[in-house]
Point group: D2
Chain length 224, copies 4
Amino acid sequence: MKPIHPNGLHETVADIVRELGDKVNVRTATLDQPEQGLPDEILNQTDVLIWWGHCAHDKVEDGLVSKIQERVLKGMGLIVLHSGHYSKIFRRMMGTSCDLRWRDDTYERVFCISPNHPIAKGIPEHFDLGIEECYGERFDIPQPDEVIFEGWFDIGEVFRSGCVWNRGYGKVFYFQPGHETNNAFQNQYIRQIIKNAVEWIAPAVYRDSMGSPHINPTLEELRK
Amino acid sequence: MKPIHPNGLHETVADIVRELGDKVNVRTATLDQPEQGLPDEILNQTDVLIWWGHCAHDKVEDGLVSKIQERVLKGMGLIVLHSGHYSKIFRRMMGTSCDLRWRDDTYERVFCISPNHPIAKGIPEHFDLGIEECYGERFDIPQPDEVIFEGWFDIGEVFRSGCVWNRGYGKVFYFQPGHETNNAFQNQYIRQIIKNAVEWIAPAVYRDSMGSPHINPTLEELRK
Amino acid sequence: MKPIHPNGLHETVADIVRELGDKVNVRTATLDQPEQGLPDEILNQTDVLIWWGHCAHDKVEDGLVSKIQERVLKGMGLIVLHSGHYSKIFRRMMGTSCDLRWRDDTYERVFCISPNHPIAKGIPEHFDLGIEECYGERFDIPQPDEVIFEGWFDIGEVFRSGCVWNRGYGKVFYFQPGHETNNAFQNQYIRQIIKNAVEWIAPAVYRDSMGSPHINPTLEELRK
Amino acid sequence: MKPIHPNGLHETVADIVRELGDKVNVRTATLDQPEQGLPDEILNQTDVLIWWGHCAHDKVEDGLVSKIQERVLKGMGLIVLHSGHYSKIFRRMMGTSCDLRWRDDTYERVFCISPNHPIAKGIPEHFDLGIEECYGERFDIPQPDEVIFEGWFDIGEVFRSGCVWNRGYGKVFYFQPGHETNNAFQNQYIRQIIKNAVEWIAPAVYRDSMGSPHINPTLEELRK
């Protein structure tokens, strides 16, 4: 049987982004690499970080999580896929538990409820994803700035499956499909959504700090 | 067979609100009454207006719709039930088509995704409503200030079934259950939600106009 | 004295958009033209409509307002400038009175509070606009999907001066500067914001109706 | 000279809440107490926690911050005053830096832009606070679920001075006035807002975990 992720799940996702062509320069990082794959010189050159993780969330070092958070607040886009909902970095950016009700594989249909969002470009108002691990509400997240996708699962669950939030000068996109034993990443619409998200979430500009200089003209000066 | 609404659907809903006891003074109004049941002296004493309509939306007079809109903007709460999504007053308050995808009766489960909202008090995180007319996304509404309930329908639909919006000094709550041939209004949770909504949406205060007086102290006066 | 708008205010605004070059094809329309400048064949080819009006809001025909609303719901971007806050079309899209507290000319500073929004690209965290007609809160609008700019006025007023809302498949951007006797449209940042807004609000796609076909597979079919 | 806070700032704030009478049972806690004033048995009985801090944010133990966060997610209300914007607990709940532009004392006017929110009950559309430490935008917070108050400062700053967010089953209210050397807490409207906030933010119910039991009826069972 052909493996679903012959080069690892990270390469499966990277291949999707590579379809954006010359616009992007794609790297992958894994936990077993030095500095967990994200030394400063790489993190500080990264415009968009896509995070997928499952069983090893606890192994990610708190110091690295803080560095990633700081980088997002300066402008880096963060895309969190599937079981990454429970990653340290997503929970850090949200301030909530990010818990949800987990159920086993079932049939999922995805609805697009914000069709004019750039992430939804080229996506129909609903499409059938097929078998996917089921995540159910209540999903313990802050109210999203925009809910773009909602998932329907045939065993009786709904889920806010695609959500965006501003955080500092950066943005966060959470997207629910992508269980390692299913085929979400082979679905044309899932692939399109991930590519749309990368383009949308890439920063227009980085700002090193909030500290824009104080404004010091007096009112008399203002009125001249 | 016992009729579902022996005194008309409006009395079915009124009986729910009457369970709030002495706090409320409940009237009903129907299209066939003089001035469509809402002459000025009644409308101007109304704190919360619950709207249910189905086939006769077009018969509601535009002038009355404008008066209701103005009253909401001054503070009156507006609760719109089920097929009222397509009423003139709801569309007026929203600015959108308020269209949706309609399907026939099916099985609905309701999820509460904003459990700390006053409208959700006493409501479990999900409950089974049973057979209800199916409304599907995309529901053409402005982004709600808060989505409180989501509906799951077994034929493959999801719906933002309970949503709130501020409008002027008033508020609007749309709630999807309540088809005339089904039993939603006999469901204990639906009844509780409607009562919660009435209490939450009643205005703390009315304000006659935006026109608070201009602020005229000079800066020199300010700084004294 | 050189007039501020030698060819009319509409041409002043059009010249800003023309700086986008070949990407855009700019027309203007005024009330005194046949069909108030917006016959169907023109409206239906328009991707972005910029609306400025002041004293003649009442002269705009209701039928035209309905056509513009419908066009926005299908995807057309609508940018409303300054005193257009009180236009029929803006009030129609909002569902509120869109009233505000008006005061005379004073000194305005503009703050950018959503610096990662595309409309804010290239705009500093604050800039001094100088003398502008003063609009004060409370501005009777629905809660914006995002507040991008806030205005500070030296006589003691604040204003949500740049706000966006989704409506149907389209979007609406309201922007407060632009009084006819002042120089807002000569300000480099105001010009940049208007150009950014045109690019951001142009539709990716038009959709003719909500009426995507019903979904009819049975659950048994789904599970195959 | 009479001191502004004869019994410490915490008692100044406590006295405001005590005006709610028998409805409340008010305690205070300070950093120098055992377990920083918030041992488990006290924290777990607390419905609303009001946080004020200034120079000693770093001294608050991370373990305590985690316990408070967990308590908020289960339903406890959190009110953060003034320089508490930079407290560990507020930053934890927000996921952002919560930085702002700080300036010295100046004249502040407060605008109420969500007049129908319970926190605004009895508050006029604007009131003059007088001399207060100036906080300026951009305030690095997630988009609030609702901005209730905005501050205008005469040296040319605006600030989202009253904001609310849902977090888990709890809520957070940030309110900007309250510098230790000024008189905000003697202002009648500030006092009213704090009392309103305590009443609004107190939880209707606590929930111990997200873990509502899985839903296990089969579709065949559902359809019976």
